[in-house]
């Protein structure tokens, strides 16, 4: 069941992370793993989807340790999306917690 929760929240976390700083896939996996454990495979399809939906964009940046890395950055549309997901999450989180606390 936790997997379902994670999937729903993952998009929000990823958008939040790249809105703070441009990141590449591996970095994002590490950051999200600090919050909860995810299967690393799920990150890249999500990033693909976000790119196709124009919520984020990608570019290549040279790195000293090896080949150029693909970095992800948030778009204007993505920032708006993040705002609305955040609002939804807060409301959702509050009402569920309130409900569970009373029992």
């Amino acid at each position: 069941m936790t997997t379902q929760f994670k999937k729903g929240v993952l998009e929000m976390l990823v958008l939040q992370l790249i809105s703070e700083e441009d990141k590449y896939g591996y970095e994002l996996v590490e950051n999200v793993n600090e919050v909860f454990e995810i299967k690393e495979g799920t990150i890249y399809p999500l990033l693909k989807r976000l790119t196709n939906e124009k919520y984020c964009d990608s570019y290549f940046k040279e790195s000293k340790e090896g080949p150029a890395r693909k970095y992800y950055m948030v778009t204007r549309l993505g920032k708006d999306k993040l705002k609305s997901i955040r609002k939804e999450w807060i409301t959702f989180h509050e009402s569920v917690s309130k409900f569970m606390e009373k029992r």
Partner: protein, 191 residues
């Protein structure tokens, strides 16, 4: 066939080369540039994991079930159809659906009770045997009817067509049998 067999393998069996090779084959419906893009990212990810001390096999295993992974990746593209390879031919699409069917079959076999107790083994074998019994009966019926129809309409040529069909279908059946056997018996060994 070898790449196809990889769909049945557990993640731990795969090294980077086999994993990426499987991805390339499974994502053949996508544009080459998109496919290369995806493969490169996964390749880099594995390299990063390896530089942190993991083995290739562990890094690949962390991606989870490759079948599910491919589904997720293709899902992401349903949104934007302009990246789907317009040359993805009918053969590739047929093979793709055939594999999906095989996955369903394997999942059904998976959901059967496993274990050392005799009852479960008997159940496994009887399902396995009945599956083939039904398939063979259906095929014999099909050959008979087809032979009758074609012989009646086309005469000698009809027989030729029928024989070719039998050969093709038998080959396909043998492939299915081979893969199911591989799957059933490799799963048994991991009990």
């Amino acid at each position: 066939m070898r790449v196809y067999r990889n769909l049945w393998r557990k993640g731990e069996d795969m090294n980077k080369k086999i994993f990426l090779g499987t991805l390339v084959k499974e994502l053949s419906i996508l544009k080459i540039s998109e496919r290369e893009d995806i493969v490169k990212e996964y390749s880099q990810h594995i390299d990063d994991e390896v530089s942190k001390g993991k083995t290739e096999e562990e890094a690949v295993a962390n991606f989870g079930n490759i079948k599910d992974l491919v589904m997720d990746i293709l899902d992401a593209y349903n949104i934007d159809s302009s990246v789907v390879n317009k040359n993805g031919n009918i053969i590739e699409k047929t093979i793709y659906h055939f594999k999906k069917f095989m996955d369903k079959v394997s999942d059904t076999i998976d959901s059967l009770p496993k274990g050392r107790n005799v009852g479960a083994q008997i159940l496994n074998y009887s399902v396995y045997v009945s599956f083939w019994g039904i398939l063979l009966t259906g095929l014999i019926f099909f050959y008979k009817v087809l032979g009758y129809v074609l012989g009646g309409v086309f005469g000698g040529f009809g027989v030729f067509v029928m024989v070719s069909l039998i050969i093709v279908i038998s080959i396909i059946m043998l492939i299915i049998l081979y893969n199911i056997t591989l799957h059933v018996f490799s799963k048994k060994n991991t009990n």
